[in-house]
Structures are given as C-alpha cells and as structure tokens.
C-alpha cells in the first residue's frame, strides 16, 4: 500500500454485468492526471461476483475489488460506506465519479461525510502545482466556471462524454486486490427490492443506423406521423428527448439522453430539439448530426454538423417529398 497522497481513484460503475462506458472515460483521464500528480491510478470496484469486470480496467495501476453480497445491488449507503472506509485509510488525492445517477449520490455522500471538497459536472481537469483546477459546467451549459480546489483530497463528478473513452481501454490485465468489505453491511438502512425494466421496446434505438429525434418543437402528438414517415424513408427509427417522453407520446425506450439511451447512429436528425446537455449526452457520438430548430441560437447547433434554423413544419414536408422521389416505389 503506497502512502503517496497523490493517487487518483476512479469509482467503477457497473450494471447487469457490464462496466458503464463512461467509467473508461474517467480511467483515461485519470491515467493522465495520475501521471501529472506522480501518483497511481486506482480503480475501485465494489459488488458481488463481478471480479471478471476487473479485467477490463487495465489502464489502472491497480484495482481494489470489494466483494460482498450486500453490495450486489448498488445502494448509495452500501457502496458509499465502503468507499468512504477505503478512502479514509488510503487518502487518495483525487476521487473521480461520473455525473450519473450512481455517481452523484456517492460523490455527495462521500464528500460530506469525509469533509472533503466536491466539484460537480466537470468538463476539464488540470493539475496546477498542488491544486486541482477544473472546469465545471453550470446553467444547462450556458455558463462555465474555472474552479480551483485546495486541500489534500478532492472529489469530482465528471460529465459523461467530457473525455474520450478510448484512453481508458486497455487489454492489459491490472493488478487486482480483492478485499472483504471494510464495513459491516448487514444493517444497511436501505435495500433494493427489485429492478424495473422498461417495457420491452418495439425498437432498439441503440441499433438503428438512422434516428429521427423529436423534441418539444414537434408541438403536438398528431405531428408524430411526419417524423415516422421520414424515419421510414431513411431506414431508421424515431426517438425523442425527455419532454416528448414525459408527455407519453413515445415509450421510455425511445428516450435519448442522460436518463435514456446513449446512441451512436450513422445519422441523427434532431427536429425541434433545443440541445440541453442532458439530451446531448445521449447522442454526441453520432457520426452525422443535422439539427432543425426555429431558434438559431439553440445549443443543439453547437453539437450538430449541419443546421437549419427554420420552422421544421416548413422543412419536413418538402424533405419527405425529396426522399420519396428518390426511393424506389415501396413494395
């Protein structure tokens, strides 16, 4: 056990037997920072019978694997207590979490109980001497803050997609240290009773090569057929941002974004979507993005490759006509 107070820890998020994609983003960035700090990169994996997952974490110098039946399902209390106990012993310099459902809970609890500073929604992390300086995103992406932290330990939550995941991938086998839980987990004050799967979707949008995405701009449910026709002509499927899903016009399985699916289609056509970061998180890796929005200042245009600042109801009918003209008559 190195006593170097310069280690970078990454909390490994996993669900249903798979490591979450953005954990690799954290590992990639963590590797870089650990180098800058002169410390080690440690991946912390907690769960039950998930040791095989450790094999994918080769970018780290070592993996702390905590095995306990009580950690089988993620609970902020259980995983938080374990993490805190480990951290209080090893005193890492920096703890990285995803700005995700699990990561947010953990980071808040760990930082409060340990009395260490926390910065959330980070897009960039830089080491300046003995300070960790981050760029934190606020106000739905309209504002950025360059934030400096002082102190021996810092926790950060990082926006998914802020860093490339390639840098976190490695086929090397890391050194795995298997531990029993440092805290008793028999008297947790919370327990997972069951997992709720979304209704078996008709379409798996993560597999569609083309996605026609609709946002608030679609205005009414009876305008959906327009999007569906377009998707059909393009050989793709219709998906949506949260406001449309919340209205109940499409099932949950069609939601793209932070709480929905992450998609990487060949072509993403965003119609009437403003481009809030929660949505963009789910589609920024699309190969080609064309956005249509009547507001020329909509943030979606920062992410799209091509943009049309016009009323989508002016554009869609004529686009559909153009495509119909080129598609051979349907069988």
């Amino acid at each position: 056990m190195s006593t170097s107070g310069q280690d970078v820890w990454v909390y490994v998020e996993h669900l249903k037997g798979q490591v979450a994609g953005h954990t690799y983003e954290l590992l990639g960035k963590g590797r870089e920072i650990a180098g800058a700090l002169g410390g080690r990169l440690v991946a912390v994996l907690a769960g039950s019978e998930v040791q095989p997952l450790a094999g994918t974490l080769g970018v780290a110098d070592s993996v702390l694997y905590v095995e306990d039946a009580g950690l089988a399902e993620f609970t902020p209390e259980g995983h938080g207590a374990v993490l805190r106990a480990l951290a209080e012993k090893d005193l890492p310099r920096l703890m990285l979490f995803g700005a995700t459902s699990a990561g947010m809970d953990l980071a808040a609890l760990v930082s409060a109980t340990m009395g260490i500073p926390l910065v959330v929604n980070c897009k960039e992390i830089v080491i300046e001497g003995d300070r960790v300086v981050v760029t934190s995103q606020m106000c739905g992406g309209k504002l950025l803050g360059e934030v400096e932290t002082v102190g021996k330990m810092v926790a950060l939550t990082v926006l998914p997609g802020a860093f490339p995941s390639q840098k976190g991938l490695s086929d090397q086998a890391p050194a795995v240290q298997k531990l029993l839980s440092p805290v008793l987990l028999d008297r947790l004050r919370m327990r997972v009773t069951r997992l709720l799967e979304p209704e078996a979707g008709d379409v798996d949008i993560t597999r569609a090569p083309v996605l026609v995405a609709i946002g608030r701009g679609i205005q009414r449910q009876d305008n959906l057929p327009l999007a569906e026709e377009l998707a059909g002509l393009l050989g793709g499927a219709v998906c949506a941002s949260r406001p449309v899903i919340d209205q109940g016009w499409l099932p949950l399985t069609r939601q793209v974004g932070k709480s929905g699916m992450v998609v990487k289609p060949k072509f993403y056509l965003a119609l009437g979507i403003s481009g809030a970061s929660e949505h963009v998180e789910g589609m920024k890796e699309s190969e080609l993005t064309i956005a249509v929005n009547s507001d020329p200042r909509a943030p979606i245009f920062d992410v799209a490759d091509y943009g049309v600042a016009a009323d989508m109801f002016d554009l869609l009918p004529t686009l559909i006509e153009e495509l119909r003209a080129r598609t051979p008559s349907p069988s």
């Binding site: 449910q221 009876d222 209205q247 109801f313």
Partner: protein, 663 residues
C-alpha cells in the same frame, strides 16, 4: 254541457293545472338553488328585446326554417288566448260571453292559423324526419309535440266544420276553412244534431289535448314556451365583451354544483328548445371537437334535475349523482370552446353558453386541472407578463431597426397609448404587420407611444380560460402603469386586447376610450390624413375577427379601408355576424389540439376563402389570425394561391410612396 260533463271538466282541469303548477313550482325551487343576480334594470330595453325576439322571432328568421316556427308561434298565441277563454267559459258557463269559436273574427283567426300551423307542423316534420338537418336533436319529445300540435289543429278545424254543419251558418268570411270542410262532411250524411255532438266531442278532445299538453309541458323541451319569454326578458344587457367576475366558483373541496351558478344561468336549459342552431355555428363542434353547446346546456339540466333534490336537502355532495364537472360535463368539452360568441348570437331564446363554460373552466383552474401547454402559458404569463415565456425586455424588440420613432409613453406624452399586445409584439409571424402599422401611424402624423417592457398582456383570454386571479393581477398592473402616463385614448391592433381594455378594465378603474386600428385608419383616410398613393388592384376577402365583429360590432370600418385602398372586396359566405372563428380564441391557441378534431376551424375558413373566384388575398385584422391562417394555408395546400395579409400591411403598401406594388 251536462252537469256530469261540467264536473268532469272541472276535475280534469284541476288535475292538469295542478300537475302543471306543481311541477313548475318544483322547477322554480330548483332555480332557487342558484345565487342571486340582478337582471331587472333597464326595463324598456328588456321589453324591446321581447318585442323583437319573442314577438318578432327575429333570430329564428335567420334560418329559413324560422318561417315555419313564426307561423306555429303566432298560431299558438292565438290558440292559447282562445283556449283560456274557452276553458273559463266551459268551467263557468254563466260567464257573459259566448264560446270564442262562435265569435266571427275569432273563428276566422282560428281557422286561418289552424291551417298555418298545420302547414308549419307539416313543414317541420318534413325538415325533422326527411331533410334531417345536422345537430337537430331527434327526440321522442319532439315527435310527441308535432303530433300533439297537429292533433290540436285538426280537432279545432274539424270542430269548425262540425259547427257549420250543426248551425247551418256557412260563412266563407268567418269560417274560411270550416265552411268548405262542412261541405265535405255533409257528404257523409251528417245530421245537424250528430254534427253538434261531434263538435262537442272535438271540443272535449281539444280541451283534453291542451290540458294534457299543459301537464306534460314542464317535463319536455316545450317548457321553452314558458321559460323563453323570461330568458329573453332577463337577458344580459351589459356589453357582450364583459364577463361577470368570479364569485363563489367552488374553490373548496366540494365539487361544483348548481349552487355555484346564478338562477339566470340555471334558467338556460329550461329555455332551450333544442333547436341546434348553436351547434351548427360552433367552430369547435363543427370541427369535430367534444363540445356541443346544445348538449352542454342540456347537461346543466341533467345535473339540476338529478342532483337538485339532494342539494335542496343540503347535501353538498349531490348524493351519488355524478359530479357536474368531470362527470356530466367533461373537461374536453369545456376546453374546446373558443368563446367566439356564435352560439349566443344565434340562440333564439338568448341563452348564455359562454358564461356557463367559463364558470366551469374557473372550477377546473382552481383545481389545477389544466393541460401541460396551457399550464406553461399561464405560468409564463404570470411570471413574465406574456404567454410566450420570453423576457419582458424582449417585448419591444419588434421596434428594432424600425425607420420611424416609437415613443416611450412612460416618459413622453402622446395622444394615443398604443397597447401592442402579446402576439403583435412577440409572434414572429405578426411582426411585419405591427411594424407596418407603426409606419402608417407615423406617416399619418398620429401621435402615439408604447409602454415598452412596461406592458403585460391585457389578459382577455386569460379571463376566458378561467384564471381570474391572474387576470386581475394583469389588469391591476397594466392600469397602474397606464395611470402614470399621459395620453387621451388607447389604440390597439389586437381585437382581444381591445375587448379587454374597453369592457373588462373599467371594473378595475381603467376607463380610457379604446380604439381599434381599423377604426383609426378608417377615420384617417376619411379625413385625408392618410392618402393612398396607389390603388391595390387585388381581389381580396376579409375575415371578421370574433372580438372585433360579433363582440364589438365593428364590421364596416375595415371594409371601408379596403375599398379606399382600391381592393376589390369579395365576401365569404360566412361574414359579419356569421363569420367563422379562426379557432385561436378562448385560450385555445395555448392548448393542446382538441381531441376529435377532423378539420381545424382555420382550415375550414381557408378553404372557404380559397373557394372564392379569383381571390388571392385573405385580409385579417388580428395578429393571432396571421399565424393561424398561415399555418392552415400550409396544411391545406393553399399556400401558393392565398396570401394572408394584415390590413395594416395593405395600408402600408398603398400609402407608402416608395414600396413597389403588391405582388
């Protein structure tokens, strides 16, 4: 008449009258559940209304079928009068006058109207059962009445014929129908004494039918015979555009019930004759939405008759009778209304559909039961003073880059305070029209200023959506802002704004005179302060905005302006009083699409305009119409052939010395 006959007559009469009185008394007690309302002022105006609408049947005559009813109505008046005297004479034989039928002129009247009414009934039956016009309620009640009235006429005419045979007094003058009829009957070997008995039989039959009708009346839609005179006499004489303020609208845990309505509101369903005129002109109903003004009024009756007994006992929960709002009347029905006033304009008994709807909407709003889009619009209005959710600072952005100066009336005085309104200020589709209006005002040397970001929406449709509290807040704020300015009159391009400022704001202390820009342009052109520099040789049609036309009677000013510009004005079939609403009013422009709509009102109107030969321009005078009609033109495929222009834009084109002619 024999003593036993007399006794029988008395018994039957008392029973029938008793049943009638008993039932009417019960209905009056139900009306008594309602709250008080004063409707007795201006008696002469009220009597005039009765004269025109009841005696003159004015509204009824706007549909061809009204002629039928005119005949039936007057026939009824004559017969009812004769019946009263006839019954009294029958009950009290010693009365010093003969049976009415035996008086020459009366017999003549009875004969003539007998035939008239029969013709009317015949026509009505053909209309009801063969022609079957839309929205005419087919009810057993209606059939019964036709049969009853027909029978009454037949018995009366037969009686007249038998009378002639019995007395041998044939007179074409006094018995124009009875005499030829008698000639026919004589062919049946009728002896005078037999004829006399038959005549008596007819008399009895007639009396029995009338008494039976009397007892049946308060249970049928024919109660309108009694109630309609009251509903007309007690009509609302205040300006159409003024809704009565909220009061006791059920903010508590108890569901809305009859006690929340005024007695006049509860009178509506009893005055309703189920003629369906309101449905036929309702844009919500004809487009397929859930609302039927006729049914909605009927629902109130259902509620009153069903829940009334429990309410009278003091049960606040109506026993187990379904709730009025959410049970008998659905929220969809209530939200589908555009408040266009077509129903109230048409109703021959002067029923007041819109106040009923607004009262029930207020109840839904108090419970927070509004759809998501409407909630957004209300929240945005409450917070930012406009339904778009934009910062108040952007309200006057339409003036950016405008070549003419626009005064800030909070700092400088001017003759007109131009209250621009939400849509004219913030809707991109309306921006050009607003700017055009500003240029025209400047050209005509009109002194005006605007409130810039001090202006909030006038709240006309906020009130009609049922958010009284928000409306009050807006009115108070706007009036406070305007009080600090110095001006003579208020000007606006938006008819909804016009309506609120003119009719709703005085209650809050805002009593300035209000002018719509079409009126102002009309007078400027008339006074030659505005001179067209060219003639717009276009064939155009003009759409009457609901709040300018039906609500406020301004029809001719915009037309005069158009003609003065050299436009060739072609009227749509539904114009002026009959203009068909674009569908935006009553807050509908803020709501989700009404379920069931097959053709949106605006689309129907576009088709109507496009069907006019050679007309390429639809002229509007309300900023909401610009966006409503442009969208509808797109969705109906008439975008190329029909251009939507605001009157201000045309005036600008015609009066601007530099602009190239209208394409």
């Amino acid at each position: 008449m024999s003593p036993s006959g007399l006794l029988l007559l008395w018994v039957v009469s008392l029973i029938a009258l008793g049943l009638f009185a008993f039932r009417v008394r019960y209905l009056v007690r139900l009306l008594g559940l309602g709250r008080g309302e004063s409707r007795l002022g201006e008696v002469w105006r009220r009597l005039a209304a009765v004269a025109w609408e009841v005696l003159g049947q004015r509204r009824l005559l706007r549909e061809p079928a009204g002629v039928l009813h005119f005949g039936i109505f007057w026939g009824f008046v004559v017969y009812a009068s004769a019946f009263v005297f006839s019954l009294l004479k029958g009950l009290l034989p010693f009365l010093p006058y003969p049976m009415p039928e035996e008086i020459g002129p009366v017999a003549l009247a009875l004969d003539v109207f007998g035939v008239t009414v029969l013709a009317g009934i015949g026509g009505a039956a053909v209309r009801r059962y063969i022609l079957r016009p839309p929205r005419l309620e087919q009810s057993r009640d209606a059939g019964v009445i036709l049969l009853l009235i027909g029978s009454l006429m037949v018995t009366s005419l037969l009686s007249s014929g038998f009378h002639v045979v019995a007395t041998g007094h044939a007179s074409f003058l006094w018995n124009p129908v009875g005499t030829p009829l008698a000639a026919l009957l004589v062919g049946y070997d009728l002896t005078p004494s037999a004829a006399s008995s038959l005549r008596m039989a007819m008399w009895w039959a007639h009396m029995a039918l009338v008494l039976g009708f009397l007892a049946y009346l308060p249970y049928s839609k024919h109660l309108h015979l009694l109630a309609s005179s009251f509903s007309v006499f007690l009509t609302d004489l205040s300006p159409r555009g003024r809704l009565r303020p909220a009061d006791a609208d059920g903010g508590g845990p108890d569901p809305l019930n009859a006690r929340n309505f005024t007695w006049r509101e509860l009178l509506n369903p009893f005055a309703c004759a189920e003629c369906g005129r309101c449905d036929r002109v309702c844009p919500a109903h004809t487009s397929g939405a859930a609302l039927s003004p006729q049914k909605m009024v009927h629902h109130i009756k259902e509620h009153l008759l069903g829940a009334g007994p429990y309410l009278m006992k003091g049960d606040p929960r109506n026993g187990h009778y379904p709730d009025l709002v959410g049970g008998v009347v659905s929220a969809d029905e209530l939200w589908a209304c555009t408040t266009c006033y077509a129903c109230m304009e048409r109703c021959p008994v002067m029923n007041e559909h819109i106040p009923l709807i607004v009262r029930m909407r207020r109840y839904l709003v108090t419970r927070g039961e509004v759809d998501a889009r409407l909630q957004d619009a209300l929240t945005a209005t409450s917070r930012y003073g406009n339904s778009f959710g934009q910062s108040p600072k952007t309200r006057a952005r339409w003036t950016a880059g405008l070549e003419v100066p626009v005064k800030d009336i909070r700092r400088e005085q001017a003759q007109y305070l131009w209250f621009v309104g939400d849509y004219a200020s913030l809707d991109p589709a309306a921006r050009e029209a607003t700017r055009a209006a500003a240029r025209v005002l400047h050209r005509a040397d009109v002194s005006f200023g605007i409130l810039y970001d001090g202006e909030q929406t006038s709240g006309n449709d906020i009130r009609r959506v049922g958010e009284e509290g928000l409306f009050e807040m807006l009115a108070e704020k706007n009036i406070a802002t305007m009080r600090k300015c110095r001006f003579d009159k208020i000007l606006t391009t938006d008819p909804h704004t016009y309506n609120a400022l003119k009719h709703e704001y005085p209650e809050f202390g805002g009593t300035w005179p209000v002018v719509h820009y079409t009126e102002l342009f009309d007078s400027l052109i008339d006074g030659e302060r505005l001179r067209p520099a060219r003639r717009l040789g276009i064939r155009a049609t003009y759409h009457d905005p609901c709040y300018l036309g039906r609500y406020n009677g301004i029809y001719e000013a915009p037309r005069r302006v158009l003609r003065a510009l050299g436009a060739n004005l072609v009227e749509m079939p539904r114009n002026r009083l009959n203009a068909y609403c674009c569908g935006a009013g009553g807050g509908r422009i803020w709501m989700e699409e009404a379920p069931g709509v097959k053709e949106r009102p605006a689309e129907s109107r576009i088709r109507e305009a496009a069907a006019l030969n050679g007309v390429g321009t639809l002229v509007v005078a309300c900023p909401k119409e610009i966006t409503m009609f442009r969208d509808a033109a797109k969705t109906t495929g008439h975008e190329e052939g029909l251009v939507i222009k605001d009157l201000a834009e045309l005036v600008e084109e015609a009066t601007n010395p530099e602009v190239s002619g209208h394409a």
